[in-house]
């Protein structure tokens, strides 16, 4: 099942992580590794524990047991990883009363970028979110769900982080934006120093972008394999079976 290449280049390490909400076990991961340069797709049905997984990974939620280590350091004790991580889980990552340029300037500043560097960093993403054509005085809270999501994804990516965490990045995006985002993620994933974890319900996109798929069900990892030509077909079959079994 696990497809780890080796332990010498581990970026993220989850050890015996358990999280319960009341009596319900939301996540139970005995061990999980993300290696340097790896791009992992996190898939699973609603309530499978994907967002809980990512929130614990980003130290936004405290696990009941276990720990997460990033570059060998516990994420709760050493926040240095944040300066190397670009993430977007949901709209609460946005500061909605700011305009898009104001928000991106804030995010860039947290990565120590100057205004010139921020402008340069945004250029490759012009086709994803054309900042030169948007209303610069429009507040984020007045954007549509799809456009707000684009802002969040852009904020996570334009700083060229070493580690990218995205939750459902393709949801709510129009088809051209989905295609462009997929291209961007593939381009960024080509950098061997960058690792990514992307959760998605879109099995087609996620198998195209990610070299490895981790499948969660009821908070547990059921499959963790490198992507190949059959992965999409197998995942479709898995979820068809799961749909039938949960319906019966």
């Amino acid at each position: 099942m696990p497809c780890w290449r080796g332990l010498q280049d581990v970026r993220v390490e989850m050890n015996k992580v358990v999280k319960k909400f009341g009596a319900k076990k939301a996540l139970d991961v005995p061990a999980w590794l993300l290696e340097d340069g790896e791009v992992v797709g996190l898939v699973g049905s609603n309530g499978a524990g994907k967002t809980t997984f990512l929130r614990i990974l980003l130290d936004l939620l405290k696990a009941d047991h276990g720990n997460v280590r990033m570059d060998g350091r516990n994420v709760q004790q050493d926040a240095g990883w944040r300066a190397r991580t670009g993430s977007f889980l949901d709209r609460s990552f946005l500061i909605e009363y700011l305009t898009i340029p104001e928000y991106l300037e804030f995010v860039g500043t947290t990565f120590g970028m100057s205004k010139r560097e921020i402008a340069a960093g945004l250029e490759p993403f012009e086709s994803f979110l054309p900042l030169s054509r948007i209303d610069r005085k429009r507040l984020i809270r007045d954007l549509s769900t799809g456009n707000a999501k684009k802002v969040g994804i852009l904020a996570a990516l334009f700083v060229q982080p070493e580690f990218v965490v995205l939750d459902e990045p393709f949801a709510n995006l129009d088809p051209p934006s989905q295609i462009r985002l997929k291209q961007l993620l593939v381009e960024m994933a080509a950098d061997p120093g960058r690792s990514m974890i992307i959760s998605s319900h879109d099995l087609g996109h996620v198998t195209e972008v990610c070299g490895r798929i981790t499948l969660l069900q009821h908070g547990e990892i059921k499959r963790d394999e490198e992507t190949d030509a059959k992965t999409l077909e197998e995942l479709n079959a898995w979820f068809s079976d799961e749909g039938i079994s949960s319906a019966t």
Partner: protein, 500 residues
């Protein structure tokens, strides 16, 4: 559409359920006991005052009868009660919104929730004074018709006050500019009435209620007309507010921005974001405007009111609020304001000390700003209080901000600034916030009271303590940052609405 016969019991059942759940979930046992004791105590005071008013009045106003005293103070009392109502009482609008998509007539919803809003403590507490007072003192004077008309007038005043408050809150939400004009005009009129010694309000009150007591119907008819107007206008205002948008998202018109020098780095960005939060969100903006109003117009009124400023304690409170009003009110929710986007900070490379520092800078700047604005008023009206004003600038910047931040960094209640109404919306506030005024406001007031024989020394000590607080800003910034770090997950859960 559901018939009114089925609508009202359904709504009543839901309201009872909601109220019971709120009672169970809102406060811990300690706070419930504290609030309970305070309620019983204030009820006891009101009852005692109503039953034994002559014992108090004989000492304070020996030349007047209890009824004369109360008659001439009734309008003033209701204006004061109105102010308290305005601070605490909510409009039923947000209770109606969840029902709007259901097949229930809006008229029925409005009628039900307008009527249900009468079940407020603000309507029952005044009766604890007025009913025994009426029974002990009013019934002894005049005719039976007069007695009944007098207590009827009191009921009408309570009703009018209730619905006028709902109306004014509606005006504040829909046309804030008009609200501030009304407020300014009212304060200016009260100021002229007081400063020029006209006593218009006292005379009017005395005239109106003594006539009602003597059985003349004109005064009562006037009150009936005013009450009917308040009920009708507030009902129309509520119904209209359900059709239109909240009006709180006037963001497009408020995107004036400003830059901070690049050299200021992340701290500069965080201060900028704090200031934009205040400007672009209705509820924080109201805190700002009301603080400005207090430190200018209201202060003129208070400083010129020589009689009221007789006590050291009152002067101290005035000094505290003149420069620290904004910090005391707005500062309590300093992290609650960020609840919808707190993850934007904690998921990024934003160190807690920087976050705390930015907020402290904003609070300290507010103290300085309000101090500068109100200083000319102190010099003009009460030059003897200028030293006190200076002392409180340091105290507020160095100590009040610390105390306020102590509470703010422990806040876990979500405040949805995008949806919140105006200033007098207490989402995010708990009894703890109200009680926090005691350790925040009382120590300097008590201290100056104790030092009243050597006021200069008292003010010097107060200013020195404040200055030390300012000088040690770095130290307590680290203390609060550590607290935030240890409570990070609990705050995130609370802000997400998953835990209190």
């Amino acid at each position: 559409m559901l018939s009114p016969q089925r609508t009202y019991p359904l709504l009543a059942r839901n309201q009872v359920r909601v109220s019971l759940r709120q009672m169970k979930s809102q406060q811990g046992w300690f706070m419930r006991i504290v609030i309970g004791v305070m309620m019983v105590y204030s009820a006891f005071i009101l009852l005692t005052l109503g039953l034994f008013f002559d014992r108090f009045s004989a000492e304070l106003w020996p030349e007047q009868t209890p009824v004369e005293i109360v008659n001439q103070s009734l309008l003033a009392a209701f204006i004061s009660l109105f102010f308290i109502r305005f601070l605490f009482q909510k409009t039923p609008r947000m209770k109606i919104v969840p029902y709007l998509h259901l097949p229930i007539r809006r008229g029925s919803l409005v009628a039900f929730f307008q009527a249900a809003s009468l079940l407020s403590i603000h309507n029952f507490y005044p009766l604890l004074f007025f009913v025994p007072f009426w029974w002990r003192y009013v019934v002894a004077e005049g005719s039976m018709m007069g007695h009944l008309m007098w207590i009827g007038a009191i009921m009408l005043l309570i009703l009018a006050s209730h619905f006028a408050n709902l109306l004014l809150r509606g005006v504040l939400r829909q046309r804030a500019g008009l609200f501030y004009i009304w407020m300014s005009l009212f304060i200016a009129t009260a100021f002229v009435d007081e400063a020029a010694g006209i006593g218009l309000q006292q005379r009017l009150s005395s005239f109106l209620f003594s006539r009602i007591l003597s059985g003349e119907a004109t005064g009562l008819l006037l009150l009936i007309a005013f009450t009917a107007f308040a009920i009708t206008a507030s009902t129309i205002s509520l119904a209209r507010s359900l059709r239109g948008s909240d009006g709180g998202q006037s963001a497009q018109a408020r995107v004036r921005s400003f830059e901070v020098p690049e050299e200021w780095g992340l701290l500069g960005q965080l201060v900028r974001i704090e200031l934009l939060l205040m400007w672009r969100n209705r509820r924080p903006r109201h805190y700002l405007f009301v603080s400005l109003l207090f430190s200018t117009l209201y202060l003129v009124f208070m400083l010129s009111s020589g009689q009221a400023l007789g006590g050291v304690a009152f002067s101290a409170l005035l000094g505290l609020f003149a420069s620290g009003g904004f910090a005391l009110n707005y500062g309590q929710l300093m992290f609650g304001w960020d609840s919808t986007h707190y993850q934007a900070y904690v998921s990024r490379n934003v160190a807690f000390p920087s976050l705390v520092r930015a907020k402290v800078i904003v609070l300290q700047l507010s103290c300085l700003g309000l101090f500068v604005m109100s200083l000319p008023l102190f010099i003009w009206l009460r030059p003897d209080l200028v030293a006190l004003h200076f002392a409180f600038l340091f105290y507020n910047a160095g100590i009040t901000t610390v105390l306020v931040m102590e509470l703010a960094t422990r806040n876990r209640q979500r405040v949805d600034i995008g949806r919140s109404g105006g200033f007098f919306n207490y989402e995010g506030f708990s009894a703890r916030h109200w009680l926090w005024f005691i350790p925040t406001a009382l120590p300097p007031v008590l201290f100056l009271q104790v030092m009243s024989s050597s006021p200069r020394l008292g003010l010097t000590i107060l200013a020195t303590v404040g200055l030390l607080g300012v000088l040690f800003t770095g130290l307590w910034t680290r203390y609060f940052a550590n607290g935030l770090k240890s409570r990070k997950h609990a705050m995130l859960e609370g802000f997400a609405g998953r835990a209190g």
